[in-house]
Amino acid sequence: MKHLLTTKDLTRDEAELILDVTEQMAEAVTGREVPKLPALRGRTVVNLFYEDSTRTRTSFETAAKRLSADVVNFAAKTSSVNKGESLRDTALTLQAMGADAVVIRHPAAGAPQRLTEWLDGAVLNAGDGTHAHPTQALLDAYTMKRRLGGVEGRTVAIVGDILHSRVARSNVWLLSKLGANVRLIGPPTLLPKDIDGWPVEIGYDLDASLKGVDAVMMLRVQRERQNAAFFPTAGEYSRLYGLDERRLALLPDHAIVMHPGPMNRGMEIAATVADSPRATITEQVTNGVWVRMAVLYLLLTNGEAR
């Protein structure tokens, strides 16, 4: 594993290795007075964020620092891919600086893959357009493993704006690879065309699709999508595809409610559901740091000296 660009490229063994190392990271750091490991001392990790995402950037930064890496937050234009220094020039600069790993968040799908052509260090995709967000999927899988005892054979419903969701795409490939049954539920307007080949079941009716589910993952839906006719109103969306208490009661007792954040309370998820003990939302944030430690560690050390 040289880079982490998508979960589709991962083998099942690689995915399981990441989840195992994630667990080791959590165990090694939890309860320590100084929650730090020396593994990446002297290595430079660059955060290259073209989209504002304090949550994800902070998570990566924390992960790198806990492994004793030097972290550089590279200021990148957040507005448009057309403005400012080109991605290639930025890559050549980072190459000259000797970045060992570049964590990139970018609004254009495929930008991390382009980056690998221009620099030698490891590239870690922290979200590219509507393409992929592999560490989010890995932390989701890790959360399921902890809460449900595993991923294999579990049924996961991913609900909402699949079309615009890199989280959904990354979860489809990862969870199916790990043996889960994946259901995608949303209005047809928010499902990509021609996904018959995906290893998923597709449903339009949320109530019916919640039957026998072990985990339900609610995706963020932007209210503004109503302006482009993806759905008539936020209210109708919420009634048809929002997770409220009535629907929560349709889930089996052990089932968990996940959300990659940030949430639109009252839109895709009711506030009471988000705050219920069934929700794993803050746990997902914590697990995100362990997963990112594991990935940085594996990419930068090739798993040596474990």
């Binding site: 589709k8 609004p107 799908a109 495929g110 382009r114 509507t130 795409r169 990509p192 065309k193 996904i195």
Partner: protein, 437 residues
């Protein structure tokens, strides 16, 4: 000008013949012994009427960092072309008599291929008001074909009026068929690959809906419509039905749509970004069959040079378009059965005779007959070549075929009897030497 003797060329369907050219025209065909003539040995070579491109972006005026009329027509000659139709989306837009005359004059000055300007349908390609179509038609550039290419003439009223208007001089509208509301933000073909890559999709129906509408408008107005870069199987069906009813419609296909598919986008390398986008394998197969059959009338390159910074970037930030002039012949041969299976007569029809007829270029697309202008291409059907971007005559490097081995080489191109390409190399021409000295 000394006489030119092309020795034992394979004249399609007429066996091996010598062709004597005098003062830019064919003087004699047969077994000829001409003393004093400059002789080109064409043993083993096929003589085609010079290729004609209905769809070239020469980028001048405005983006001379990507291509100029000079470099673009050199690339054309190297690819076997003797005439190219220059699209109107330059800066300034070719929407006045002044700009089209300037482009035509630059073509004459370069001397590598005849440059026939295409005029814009609407002022500034904005799709709002008609450009001065009559002034362009009556200018020295004698514009017959009008197109807002790069943009679709999506307003049905504007399209109707343009079609009616060009009837006065037997003109035609070349439509870039793309319903703009269905392709907002589109980056690649909408389908299984775009779903996976997370790139916004350009649905086939956005092309088909406009083609269907314009077929009806062509029938209603009795005017001629030409469809640029047809890319989907369903578009072919619509055009086939329209032709069967007698509608005055013609269609072109680009080499890249005959060879490449949306699978190429998996690299996220924008050298594969083009508009309309690369489609599915099934579309490629239907387009090839339609070209062989003649439902698609012509191969047109949509040669679209771009500066490096417009391609060495994120997919979404890249400009759409790819080079085509120097590879079109080889890919047309591939699409029509490969060097062993190709019917050279069909190839000549789709790459030369028919496009010349559509564009109204009477001196082009002519097989050698005494009196005809000597616009020819000599092709080695047995040779192969490897595409090296740095070796191309175009000023730009955005070829999607880099490293590919392609069949068939252009050995020589003659424009009115003068070699623009000989032994596969572009020759400097007289006017060029004058300007450099």
């Amino acid at each position: 000008m000394t006489d030119l003797l092309i020795k034992s060329a394979d004249l399609i369907g007429r066996g091996r013949q010598d062709v004597l050219v005098r003062d830019g025209r064919v003087a004699e065909i047969g077994s000829i012994d001409a003393k004093g003539a400059e002789t080109v040995d064409a043993d083993g070579l096929v003589l085609l009427p010079g290729l004609v491109d209905l769809h070239t972006h020469l980028r001048e005026p405005g983006r001379e960092d990507a291509e100029t009329v000079h470099t673009g027509t050199r690339a054309a000659a190297k690819g076997g072309y003797t005439a190219v139709c220059a699209m109107a989306n330059s800066h300034p837009v070719a929407d006045t008599a002044g700009v089209v005359e300037q482009v035509a004059a630059l073509g004459r000055a370069a001397g590598y291929a005849d440059v026939q300007p295409i005029g814009a349908v609407s002022v500034g390609l904005a799709g709002e008001r008609l450009a001065e179509i009559g002034a362009m038609a009556h200018s020295a550039a004698k514009v017959r074909m009008f197109s807002d290419d790069g943009h679709c003439v999506s307003d049905p009223v504007l399209m109707r009026r343009a079609l009616e208007y060009v009837k006065t001089f037997g003109g035609l509208v070349a439509q870039h068929a793309e319903e703009p509301r269905l392709t907002e933000g589109a980056q690649m073909n909408e389908g299984a690959v775009s779903a996976e890559l997370g790139l916004p999709g350009w649905p086939a129906v956005a092309e088909e809906a406009i083609i269907a509408r314009d077929v009806l408008l062509a029938e209603y107005t009795g005017a001629r419509v030409h469809f640029c870069h047809v890319s989907t199987a369903r578009s072919v069906d619509i055009i086939r039905e329209a032709k069967a009813r007698g509608a005055k419609v013609t269609a072109e296909v680009c080499p890249h749509h005959l060879l490449l598919t949306d699978e190429a986008a998996r690299s996220y390398d924008p050298v594969y970004k083009v508009n309309p986008p690369l489609r599915r394998e099934a579309d490629v197969a239907v387009l090839r069959a339609a070209l062989a059959e003649g439902v698609i009338d012509a191969v047109a390159t949509d040669h679209a040079p771009h500066a490096p910074q417009d391609k060495q970037c994120e997919w979404a930030a890249a400009r759409p378009g790819m080079l085509g002039l120097e590879t079109a012949l080889s890919i047309s041969v591939l699409a029509l059965g490969g060097p062993a299976g190709v019917d050279w007569d069909v190839l000549a029809e789709r790459t030369s005779r028919t496009p010349a007829r559509i564009a109204g270029l009477e001196a082009h697309g002519r097989d050698p007959r005494p009196g005809a202008e000597a616009n020819f291409t000599l092709v080695d059907p047995a040779a192969t070549w490897t595409v090296v971007p740095e070796g191309l005559a175009s000023l730009s490097r955005n070829t999607p075929y880099a490293g590919m081995e392609l069949p068939v080489t252009v050995q020589a191109t003659f424009l009115r009897g003068r070699a623009t390409v000989l032994n596969g190399a572009v020759l400097p021409n007289d006017s060029e030497e004058e300007t450099t000295e």
